[in-house]
């Protein structure tokens, strides 16, 4: 299995959701102990504070982390708080679609870990 599928590389090089959000409603930050990289998810909710209207990420990471974070930000846009809470690690892997080697699983799941940190603050 090629871990570096064309669309993964493409997303990692040109992520659509990679930008810091100055005034976010919620943040989730994690450190990847494997390499020392950091990832932060920024959430902005609608007026009722029910739905995500904008989700972006910041920090530095490898191609896998960047592509996975970008996919997650795209997927969770418009979702409710409950849907954020219910999103599982299995959902993250399904969304990513390209199984990494066991030693790199942590990279693909890093955005999910950031999400867990964020929803813990809800």
């Amino acid at each position: 299995m090629n871990m570096y599928r064309e669309d993964i590389i493409e997303r990692s090089r040109f992520p659509r959701f990679k930008r810091e959000m100055k005034a976010s409603d919620l943040q989730g930050e994690v450190l990847n102990e494997l390499c020392g990289d950091e990832l932060t998810l920024y959430f902005s909710f609608d007026e009722k504070k029910e739905r995500v209207i904008k989700l972006t990420f910041g920090g530095q990471g490898c191609a896998l982390v960047t592509a996975a974070a970008d996919m997650l930000c795209e997927y969770l846009g418009g979702k409710t708080k409950k849907e954020l809470v219910d999103f599982s690690a299995a959902d993250m892997l399904k969304l990513y679609g390209n199984p990494p080697s066991p030693s790199r699983l942590k990279c693909v799941l890093l955005p999910y870990e950031a999400l867990r940190r964020a929803v813990a603050g809800l």
Partner: protein
């Protein structure tokens, strides 16, 4: 025909076992592959005379004891010094912890200094941090030059620098596991001794790449692991000058390290046994002894020459990769064992995973040297390391895979 490289792979069973797929092992700096001779020696112990050492009165126990004790002599042939100056430990990390606790504990007083460098492996850093906290000592660091990868030290003022800062112990990595730099230990040690301080050498990386003589280096102590030296894991060596070992307290206590025991007090055995509590890794020591004999038969200078040629070839090949930055000295006389690098726009972990898909094994990460990476302004790097079984074909495969990666990433 060349003695090393492709032609010596027949001595290492793993090449035949993994012959079905590309097998390009460029991670010997993490751990080396093992020759059949080493594995046979360990099996022979387990199959033919697997008694405990230093206690039995029957023939098989004597055979085991002799085989184990003989490795001290083999080690002293390998690195100089005397057999009774060789202490068996688990690895270089344990040797360092033993030294910090027993020798650091003996020598250092509140306000004294210990000199390390910015390129140390965590094994020669964190134990000192712990002791410094406990004893209220001060850690000092020799900086390295980011461009050249060499230590920066003022030769003229070094002895007075050591005295002024009350530095009692200098502990340095012989050859950097990231930069590859061979540090001028011999020259530094002369100043260290002039200042009345002690010299500890972390030879975990260098031991497998070049001839080493503890007396010539001017070391008071030298540590290394067996598994980077074609030997098994779980066995390492602490070599120390006997008169210093003799002044040190045990690091661990229990069986095999005593002279006499009463209910409330005990006396301890002489070195090296004072520092080897409990049943040691007998098979490991025997395997390590065989590894050292194997390497000596090849000749450490022959090994150094082979690796120098190979590293020069690798440096040249890798320097043509687009966006690459190679760390450490370009002068091959000042480098051993490894070449670390980063490639603009591609994370080291992606480099490692990408080439792994082509059967190429390199190390990525901080290589247990976080302060070094912080100084370089990066969190991780990729590292190629070589040994006697590596050849141009390995470097060519890596170079080809990196080119492929650059193309795939559109750089």
């Amino acid at each position: 025909m060349k003695k090393l490289g492709i032609s010596i792979r027949k001595d290492f069973p793993i090449f035949a076992r993994r012959s079905g797929a590309p097998f390009v092992y460029l991670d010997s700096g993490a751990t080396s592959l093992k020759p059949t001779r080493v594995l046979d020696a360990m099996n022979e112990y387990h199959e033919s005379y697997s008694a405990n050492v230093s206690r039995g009165v029957y023939e098989m126990a004597e055979q085991a004891t002799n085989a184990y004790e003989d490795v001290r002599a083999t080690t002293s042939h390998f690195i100089g010094g005397k057999p009774e100056e060789v202490v068996f430990v688990r690895n270089a990390t344990e040797a360092m912890n033993l030294l910090v606790a027993s020798f650091g504990g003996l020598i250092l007083r509140e306000g004294d200094g210990v000199l390390l460098s910015e390129m140390e492996h965590h094994a020669n850093l964190i134990p000192w941090q712990q002791l410094a906290k406990q004893k209220k000592c001060i850690l000092h660091f020799l900086p390295f030059n980011i461009e050249t990868g060499e230590l920066e030290w003022d030769k003229e003022a070094f002895s007075s620098f050591l005295k002024e800062r009350k530095i009692k112990i200098v502990s340095l990595i012989h050859s950097s596991n990231v930069l590859g730099t061979i540090n001028p230990i011999k020259e530094i040690a002369e100043h260290v001794h002039e200042a009345g301080a002690y010299m500890i050498v972390d030879a975990a990386q260098s031991i497998t790449h070049m001839p080493i003589d503890v007396k010539d280096l001017g070391a008071d102590f030298l540590v290394f692991s067996g598994h980077k030296l074609l030997g098994p894991t779980g066995i390492g060596v602490l070599w120390g000058r006997y008169e210093l070992l003799d002044r040190m307290q045990p690091y661990q206590s229990g069986g095999e390290m005593i002279q006499d025991v009463n209910l409330k007090t005990s006396t301890f055995a002489d070195p090296p046994h004072r520092f080897e509590a409990g049943t040691p890794h007998i098979a490991g020591a025997i395997g390590l002894g065989e590894a050292m004999r194997y390497m000596q038969e090849i000749g450490m200078q022959t090994i150094r020459d082979h690796e120098k040629e190979l590293l020069a070839y690798a440096w040249e090949k890798l320097s043509h990769i687009k966006g690459i930055h190679l760390f450490g000295p370009n002068d091959i006389e000042k480098r051993s064992g490894v070449i670390s690098f980063v490639i603009n726009g591609i994370h080291p972990h992606d480099v490692g995973s990408f080439v792994a898909q082509d059967g190429i094994m390199i190390r990525v990460g901080d290589h247990c040297a976080k302060p070094l990476h912080k100084k370089l302004g990066i969190t991780a790097s990729s590292r190629v390391s070589v040994s006697i079984y590596n050849d141009h074909d390995d470097i060519d495969a890596l170079s080809l895979s990196l080119e492929k990666m650059i193309k795939a990433f559109g750089l």
